[in-house]
């Protein structure tokens, strides 16, 4: 569907280097990365808005590298909605129809989409006094109104309140399910990516770090950056021999298969378990340690446990902490399940 070959963009002191991504038809693809990693630049290059330095962009089997934006059939939705302030809601949504052949069916399809998304009653309203959630719905329907083959979503949820964000997430899922359109969404929130995306890629400083299924990005990072970005707070250099990883402070038993030449291990704080008393012997990778810090994060807490002078991060709910009477300076036992430990070469 979308094939990006060796794409390079040099743009006022920033470079996007040799990006290769293949996105399948009707896929929901997420592009992840921190602020300033080049996500928006890549999306605008696909839309034909940003000129590229080298490489190819193929959409639906056609080379679109030098095709102007209006001929690409690629819609774009921005974080700040980019609605036309001098037009009404309906005029915004029907804006693109003037450039595409359309009939009564298309108008009915648009009305159905507006009805499903709850904005039909806003048809004659001006944009000025609408809420963020309403504006984002209008921007989405406007992009879909012209039946694009691809919709590019540039952080569409970032500027919304949490309540609206959940609504729009569900709406995106519904729109993706009910249309033939391929979705490419830019985000720096991996919870959003996990909820919506089927496959994804992670960009860092203009370089593609990893591309694959969202689950693989989440569970099997291939670089330290991806591991950190996807929430692996426990990452250590290690000597790995068969199923045993030796760090400076402890040894861990690993699950097979192990990444060839792996020299790093990482695991999530959420996967690590903590006990007040020594757990029974069936658990491997059990260590004794002392709670050094507890940080309240609202619905959960981050614990930092000192194991042989190394701090291990553990996440747990407040009720678990209360039930086990965990507190700073308390001696505890830590179990790191071997299936939770991931290895990679760097």
């Amino acid at each position: 569907m979308i094939q990006i070959h060796n794409l390079c963009i040099h743009f006022s002191g920033f470079s996007l280097n040799n990006v290769n991504i293949h996105i399948k038809k009707h896929e929901f693809f997420v592009l992840l990365g921190p602020t300033g990693s080049g996500k928006t630049l890549l999306v605008e290059a696909i839309a034909g808005i940003t000129p590229i330095s080298s490489g190819k962009i193929i959409i639906n089997g056609q080379d679109m590298t030098h095709v102007p934006p209006e001929k690409r059939k690629v819609g774009i939705v921005y974080q700040d909605y980019a609605l036309f302030p001098h037009l009404t809601v309906m005029e915004n949504i029907q804006y693109g129809l003037a450039y595409h052949k359309h009939g009564p069916d298309d108008l009915q399809r648009i009305r159905d989409l507006m009805s499903k998304t709850g904005i039909l009653n806003l048809s004659n309203r001006k944009i000025k006094n609408l809420s963020g959630g309403e504006k984002q719905r209008i921007a989405l329907i406007r992009a879909l109104a012209v039946n694009p083959s691809v919709v590019l979503l540039d952080e569409p949820l970032s500027s919304l309140d949490p309540g609206f964000r959940d609504d729009i997430q569900n709406l995106l899922k519904m729109l993706h399910k009910n249309t033939d359109t391929t979705f490419l969404m830019v985000t720096h929130d991996f919870a959003e990516a996990f909820f919506l995306g089927e496959r994804g890629a992670i960009l860092n400083q203009g370089t593609l770090e990893q591309c694959g299924s969202v689950n693989a990005l989440f569970t099997s990072p291939k670089t330290p950056f991806v591991a950190r970005f996807m929430g692996f707070k426990n990452m250590f250099e290690a000597q790995i021999d068969k199923n045993l990883a030796k760090t400076d402070s402890f040894e861990l038993e690993l699950n097979s298969p192990i990444t060839p030449d792996a020299n790093y291990i990482c695991f999530r704080g959420e996967d690590t378990r903590v006990f007040s008393t020594r757990p029974n012997s069936k658990h491997c990778n059990t260590f004794s340690g002392r709670i050094q810090d507890i940080i309240d994060k609202g619905s959960y807490c981050d614990l930092y446990i000192n194991v042989n002078n190394i701090l291990i991060h553990v996440s747990m709910t407040k009720s678990e902490i209360i039930n086990n009477a965990f507190c700073i300076e308390k001696d505890v036992y830590l179990v790191i399940p071997k299936q939770a430990i991931h290895t990679f070469f760097c």
Partner: protein, 261 residues
Amino acid sequence: MKRHYDPFLIVSIISCVSVSLFILAPIIQLLLGPSWVIILESMRDPDIQKAIGLSLYTSGIAALIALIIGTPFAYLLARKSFFGKRVIEGIIDLPIVIPHPVIGIAILGIVGKQHWLGALLHRMGVYLMGTISGIVIVLTFVGMPFYINTVKNGFEAIPVRLENVSRSLGASFRSTFFRITLPLAFRSIIVGFIMCFARAISEFGAVVVVAYHPMTAPVLIYERFTSYGLKYSQPIAVLLILISLLLFIALRLISRKDINL
């Protein structure tokens, strides 16, 4: 309880009143100077009617030329980065800083018979010295920076993402410009037009060098002042102020419809 006033607020209010008085005092004096009988008499004076008409006409044409030529140029400056952009922006501002008689002399230098361009224009039957065309050229020259700078700021205030979305929906560059950019920049275009018109209608120094005749209102005011004194120049000045004021209020009302970007 005694109310406390911030010293900075007091200084600001004093500054506001002094500046307003500084600007308004001579204008109020000018408006109150001649009696309404004299002003009404002046309105019937064919020379005054002709001069004011010429000022309005030439300033309007100059502002229109600035609008036609300056709008695409302002868009280019607002949207594109290119080598030498700063130099070009500096060149546009030059007419603001050059003394006005110097502008007149500079224009005369290029359209005079001694210059190849002037000679060519003469052969083509285009005469600028002492003609309406000459006045329009001078007024366009002095008014253009005000138009371009105002409209450039207007274009810059329109998020480029609106244009990107329009293109992605199938609109060409031209269509996007006319359906999105231009309507959103309408207010700044009107303001730029007013600024250019205002600058042009008040121009004296450059016009008097290129075309003493036919007489524009500022030149006639100068002539009446030097030949007959203050009493005879004041009514024309009052009329010019009133006409300008009416015109600007009308244009402001037209452009009142504001759009939140």
